[in-house]
Subunit: 209 residues, 2 copies
DNA sequence: ATTGAATTGACTGACTGTCAGTCAGTGTGT
DNA sequence: ACACACTGACTGACAGTCAGTCAATTCAAT
């Protein structure tokens, strides 16, 4: 077959992007390496030249996505002109923080067959994002809006609960159940951080359109 | 080969038990159906005569274990001579409730390669156990030791956090980190249920041996 | 400067081994 | 003679390997 060489960067990206699209279309388990390489038009060996296993590329995709989110969160957290509460509002309402899934990738992750990847991503996102949130909590302590010792442990607790309970597919809750649990989440986050009741009202907008 | 026929019940149990032990020893993914049947001395077809897939037996094992725990929890919850707090203490300290894993099966579940099963079990245990806990919370409300509306949603929130955060392998925390997070957990559970500070001291025993 | 030999590293694809799952058929108790 | 437990060779699919190919790059000799 005609041999086409590309810059490693480019090839790697090509493989990642194609794999990502296929994982979304048919699910990780059902997507064979064969499918990926045929779609691109490369040989089996090329795939394994870049990735040591099929799982490795999955992690690469997840890490890449999470990396973008972490970067975004850091930007917000380090912005000196925002109050702690404003930072929380930005991170929790806008954006995909607290919900690892980019719009694009969320479908993949919520397929039942991708449970494993999903949990992996959830865990990683908690571990990487919680220190950033903890920093914001410390800022809030200094501003006097929070009163929370051991910010990291506290943030992790509520983060995990919110992440795993409210995040997409895991618990198959109805809209009503989700709404109720989000209200509880707000109350508990406020209590956990020692914030005034209502501080996190943005989590439960009363939609009057 | 010499053909040995057994009562279906017995055969089924034999398969489940052997599979359970092997999953523990080598992990679910790395344990082939071949291994299981060779250990027992049956043919491939026999395995598939009893279970429609490899995953099916995994679920059977998980369900069986969870079933025992749920039954135990129900017994405690329905015991009219125990106070709500006593019930919580029994369920949270003794036993494997809030930690699906039986001593025996916990090793399997915490192998990294069994992440999928692990999450499955965690989710199922939350869904099945939380209504039981919610009942105890209602009892506590009547006794005046708790003040918690929407008990189910509340319980699920703290349950998920505690389960996913503190349970075994997921977050690879050190002993020190676990201890700190358990203290936070106690505080938040008390706040969630509107219980007096210290009500759940049994969660963090000061060990003076 | 030009040649061409040596080296590198991206790339190939036939091949291996493994495994989940199937099925046509066999033995056994009632 | 019937049904039900059981058999094991077989299939198809797949992840991963490896010996080798090819083109670009480097560099030493002319």
């Amino acid at each position: 077959m005609a041999r086409i060489t590309k810059a490693p960067e480019e090839r790697r990206l090509e493989i990642v992007q194609t794999a990502e699209r296929l994982f979304r279309e048919v699910g990780y388990a059902k997507c064979s390496v064969e499918m990926i390489i045929q779609r691109i038009g490369i040989a089996k060996g090329t795939f394994y030249y870049y990735f040591k296993s099929k799982e490795a590329i999955l992690e690469a995709i997840a890490d890449q996505t999470l990396g973008q989110i972490v970067e975004y969160a850091k930007d917000i957290a380090d912005n000196p002109s925002l109050s702690a509460l404003a930072k929380f509002e930005t991170l929790l309402t806008n954006s995909h923080v607290g919900n690892v899934d980019t719009q694009d990738i969320s479908d993949i992750l919520h397929l039942p067959e991708n449970r494993e990847l999903h949990e992996l991503t959830n865990v990683k996102s908690v571990l990487q994002l919680s220190p950033i949130f903890a920093k914001i909590v410390s800022q809030g302590n200094q501003e006097g809006v929070f009163a929370a010792d051991r910010p990291l442990a506290r943030i992790q607790y509520v983060f995990v609960a919110t992440q795993f309970l409210l995040d997409g597919g895991l618990f198959q809750f109805s809209d009503q159940e989700i709404r109720e649990r989000r209200e509880i989440a707000q109350e508990l986050i406020e209590k956990t951080l020692g914030a005034a009741p209502g501080s996190f009202d943005f989590m439960n907008p009363t939609l009057e359109s």
